[in-house]
């Protein structure tokens, strides 16, 4: 009820901030941070406390004057994921809090870890500090920690000139005319499409080409969610189609049907581009589309 005159905003604040002395031990740690080094202090029993304290929490004894550089990398012991950062948090995007045991330390440092999402966090993961641009001697001189580099992105691109000769040329010349050419192995009694020179089973030369129908049955299929320049949209379906009268399925796109309706045994027919646009390329067949015939029982 902001309009209620009896409700007031009240702020508790120390103008300019509250000045605190650090003492020699915390002061040394913060001074080293300003120089972008992380140090721990050794206890009388030989443990390294990071961040340093003046007294060993286990024994109550004063720590030794021995400071030792630790990290900069460390191992996450436990963590929590903040999906909605508060104004007071070190990062303004989703991040993790973590207890980080820096290399060489016997205790864990609490700080923020910048990770892409909660799934990127795990106990045991390695993290490295990311320093603020202008260290001043404050725990926030470490802006945050970031996961160890475990992968990079490699760009791969090479260009080739491909030429269809032999059986592929014969097949594509057929496609240019709007027909699918097959070959038969007399010994194996199998019909192969696309046309090929030799039977892949027995090695015998196949006889003359002949046309097979551009209708067939889906034997299996995959729903693809990664874009492909040959596909109209994502998701798209690529399928094995057993063309009628042939024995070996051919791979092709399926179209004109929602991906979730595609099924094994579905009857399909090639959708050709208009004759005026045809070339000696498989692009002549846009995709295969359902014919509406009853499904076929696959053997």
């Amino acid at each position: 009820m902001p309009s209620d005159p009896l409700v007031a905003q009240h702020v508790l604040e120390f103008p300019g901030g509250y000045t605190r002395t650090t003492g020699p031990v915390i002061g040394r740690f913060l001074t080293e941070l300003r120089a972008r080094r992380i140090v721990g202090v050794r206890t009388a029993e030989g443990r390294v406390l990071v961040p340093p304290l003046e007294y060993d929490p286990e024994t109550g004894e004063p720590v030794t004057g021995e400071y030792t550089e630790v990290g900069p990398a460390g191992t996450v012991k436990t963590w929590a994921w903040v999906e909605q950062p508060l104004d007071s948090h070190p990062l303004d995007r989703p991040f993790a809090w973590a207890l980080i045991e820096l290399d060489g330390a016997d205790t864990a440092l609490l700080h923020a870890v910048a990770a892409d999402n909660a799934k990127a966090m795990a106990a045991g993961m390695r993290v490295w500090p990311v320093w603020s641009d202008r260290p001043t001697g404050h725990i926030t001189d470490i802006s945050h920690f970031a996961p160890e580099v475990t992968k990079i992105v490699s760009n791969v691109r090479a260009e080739y000139r491909l030429q269809a000769g032999g059986a592929l040329r014969t097949f594509l010349e057929g496609v240019e005319r709007g027909v699918l050419l097959a070959g038969r192995c007399e010994r194996c009694a199998k019909v192969y499409v696309p046309y090929r020179l030799n039977c892949p089973e027995c090695g015998q030369s196949l006889g003359d080409t002949f046309e097979v129908p551009d209708t067939g049955t889906i034997t299996t299929f995959a729903i693809n969610n990664l874009p492909d320049p040959r596909a109209p949209e994502v998701p798209f379906v690529s399928a094995y189609i057993l063309l009628d009268t042939t024995d070996i399925p051919m791979i092709a796109l399926i179209g004109d049907v929602p991906a979730h309706e595609v099924r094994q045994g579905m009857r399909v027919k090639a959708v050709w581009v208009p004759e005026s646009e045809r070339t000696a390329s498989m692009a002549n067949i846009r995709w295969f589309a359902p014919t509406g015939e009853p499904d076929v029982e696959l053997s």
């Binding site: 009896l6 508790l12 929590a80 994921w81 973590a98 609490l110 700080h111 404050h138 926030t140």
Partner: protein
Amino acid sequence: MRDVAIVAFAQTRHTDHDTGLTEPELIAPVINEIKERTGLRRFGFTCSGSCDYLAGAPFSFVSALDALAAWPPISESHVEMDGAWALYEAWVRLQHGDIDSALVYGFGKSSLGDLRTIMTLQLDPYYLAPLGLDQLSYAALQANAVGADRAELDEIVRRSRADGRGNPYALDLPEPDGEDFAVQPLKKTDVPPITDGAAAIVLATGDLATRLCATPAYIRGIAHRTEPHYLGLRDLSGSASAADAARAAGVGKAPVEVAELHAQFPHEEIILRRALELGGGTLINPSGGPLAANPVMATGLIRIGEAARHIHDGRARRTVAHAASGPCLQQNLVTVLEA
């Protein structure tokens, strides 16, 4: 040791919002109720627990004395901790032997500010507070370290809220619903409700105890222990200090019928059951516990009062109360009560 007993306990009907009452106005009905029930108008010692940061006003606990009738001058003290620690101080004071009664109270209005970030102000100012580490964030770190089964955690929240609905002083919270995280792995339903409230207890020794109460709840053991403040120095998956306090208070010397645990989050209940070695025969937080009403700075004292109430009512002969303070159960106070 002198036998000290809890002879009376009173609490407000806690609210999930600011009713506009001042702190003295919040406390006064509870103090008046406990004075009427015991017939005592003056006490040998008075001690309270509260936190000025909740109201954002320095020395706000001083004005709370207006609820007490503090003139002519009374012997009085205050702890900037949960009222449970005020009870500890009163118990120590009663051991001196020169007085036979004490009034203890705790109060807090966590509705006035943002409790989650106000709790940042209790943290070490060099290493933790500057990071803006908040109450739900450090609780989530501990929840992950415990790694408890989600179904077990959900059941603790469900049971606590159901028990709270049966407790006229606790809040009426619905069956927990929703999977949203507050800070992963802490779910929003794992977070205790913002609550305003107060509670008071009267301690008495010797003949006075039996005169004031037919069934006094005698403090047979009381101990508190602390751990390092900095979270990186501790094993957050357990609570060594709660276990030490429980041993020192003698929790395991006999079966425990009821335990009231200051577990603000469900994973804290799991830690505390293990630390106090409470088995299946112990009823945990039949009041609903902090997940059903969490008037900060009174929540721990209410655990002691609820544990005593079972003995006052004759429903139990041996109960245990636990109170906690600091981030991730840093400090733990365990009280063993017997008929």
